[in-house]
Symmetry: C2
Amino acid sequence: MGSITTSKSDSTTERVTDSYSTRLLARQNLITNTSGLAPGSLQANLLILPSRYAQDFHSLCLRNSVPCPLLGIIPPGNPHIVSPAPCIQHPDFDVRTDFPQYRVYRGGKQIASTKDLTELYTEDHVGFLLGCSFSFEDALCEAGLTPRHQTTGRVVAMYRTKVPLMPAGVFSEACMVVSMRPYKPTDVERVREVTRPYGATHGEPVAWGWDGAERLGIRDIEVPDWGEAQVFEEGEVPVFWACGVTPQLAVEMAGEKIEGLVFAHEPGNMLVTDWTAGDLEALKEKSGFALPM
Amino acid sequence: MGSITTSKSDSTTERVTDSYSTRLLARQNLITNTSGLAPGSLQANLLILPSRYAQDFHSLCLRNSVPCPLLGIIPPGNPHIVSPAPCIQHPDFDVRTDFPQYRVYRGGKQIASTKDLTELYTEDHVGFLLGCSFSFEDALCEAGLTPRHQTTGRVVAMYRTKVPLMPAGVFSEACMVVSMRPYKPTDVERVREVTRPYGATHGEPVAWGWDGAERLGIRDIEVPDWGEAQVFEEGEVPVFWACGVTPQLAVEMAGEKIEGLVFAHEPGNMLVTDWTAGDLEALKEKSGFALPM
C-alpha cells in the first residue's frame, strides 16, 4: 500500500487495510454477507450497465438522490478505478470480483447469480456505486436504537412503494423501494436525528407511522416484497427509509428497453469501501454545497 | 460594473447588463411579471426563512432536487450576496427588493403581499434561490414546441400531487407540485429530450399521459390548484414537470412548526439572474459529478 497510506494517519491506514482485506475475502469467495464487516467503513450497492444507458442512470441517481445516492462511477474500459470520488483508495481493486455475489439481468429479468463477473463484464460496461443503509445502522446501534432485524437475526423487511421515481430517460416507470425498522413513536424524532446526517446513504426516514405506511401504498406490513417480516413490540410503529434495492427495481421495470447484460450486487453482499461517513461530509463541503453558515 | 465584466466576453457583458437592468426595474417597482424578460437569463424562485430552519430547508432541497433545485444561498446578515455559486455577478444586488413582488407567510399562511421586504427582512433571515421552469420553456419554444399557455396568454396550470417529498426536519409532510403543458403523444419523447439537459431547473417531465396524471393523483385536469386550465387540442395529453411552487407548499404544510416570518416570490415574479443554462452545466462539471466519459 506504501505511497497511498504513508501520508495518512494511523487510524486511516488501519481502516483502509481492514476494508481492503474484506474485499480480498470477497474476491476469494470466502464471505457471503458483508453486514457488520469492517465496522465504520461505508458499504456500497452496485449497478453496472452498457454505456448507452449510463447517462440515463446517472440522471436517475441525481434526480432521486435519496433512494439512489451516487458514491462513485467505474468508467468504461477499466474495472479497477472509481471516479471521481476516491471511495476506493487501495490500487488493487476489481469491481468484477470484489463483491461477494452478483446478480445478472437481461431484459429486466434476473437470469443468473454469480461470484465473479470477469467472464461477463465487457469494455463497454459502466459501473455505479451507491450508498447503503448499513452505514446509518451503525449509528443507530451506537445511539441505543439497534434495528430490530439485527437483534432477531432476520433480514431487514423491504417493500415496493407506489411513490414514483423522478423519470430519467429509459428509467421512466420506476418506484421507490423502502426498508423498514420498527420503533416506539416516542423514539421516531431521535431516529430521524441520528440518521439525518447520513445524507449520502439514504439519510433520515422517508415516512413513519401507520399513516406513513398508507401514504407509501404499503398494504400489509407482514408481507414484505423482499427480506423478512419484522417483529413489532407493543405500541411500535414502522419507520421507513429509502432502500438501495430501488435501482434494481428500476432496471426490472425498464425491462426490454435495456439491451445487453446488466449486473447488480446480490442484496446483503455489498462492497466494503475505504470511506467513512466523515469522508462523505468532507466531500459535501468541498463541492461548495454545504450550508454556508 | 468595471472590474466584474472586463474579463468577460462581450456577449456575457451584454447579458449581465440586461439581467441587471431587469432587476433594477423590479427594484423600482416598474414591472410585475418577469416572464419573457432578459431572454436566455435563468430566472429564480425564492424562499427566505429564519436561520433555525435553514438547515432543514437546505436538506429538503438536496433530497428533492427535481422540485426544489437549489441555485444559491443568501447567508444571514447580508442580503446583497449569493453564496456559493455566483448566479448574481453584479455587485449591486438586494434580495429584499430585486424581485417584483413577494409573499409574506406566518404559521404556514400567507398574510401579505409586498413589493419590498426591507422593513420585514431581519439579520437572522436566510434566502434560497431555486431554479425556475421559465428556463426550459425558452428551449421548448426554440424546438418548435411552444407551451400552450404562451400561445393562449394564460397562466400555466399547476396541480398539487399526492407524491410525497422526501422529508427533511420540520418539512415532513410536503407534496410535490407540478406544472402542466399539453402535447401530442408523438411529441412526448422529443419534449423529454429538449428539457432533460435543464437538470438544475426541473429537467425532464415527471409524468405524462392520462395514466401519468392518475399516478400523480390528479383527479380533474380542468381544475388546477394554481394558474389556469389549459386548452387541449384533439388527441393531446398532459405532460407534467416538477414546479417551483413546491417549496411554498412545503412551508404551508409545515404550518405552526415554523415560527417567525417566511418570504417567497409571488408566482410569475421571479429574480432574473446573470446565469444561463450553460453556466449551470459548467458548475456541474466543476463539482466533479458530471458523468466521466
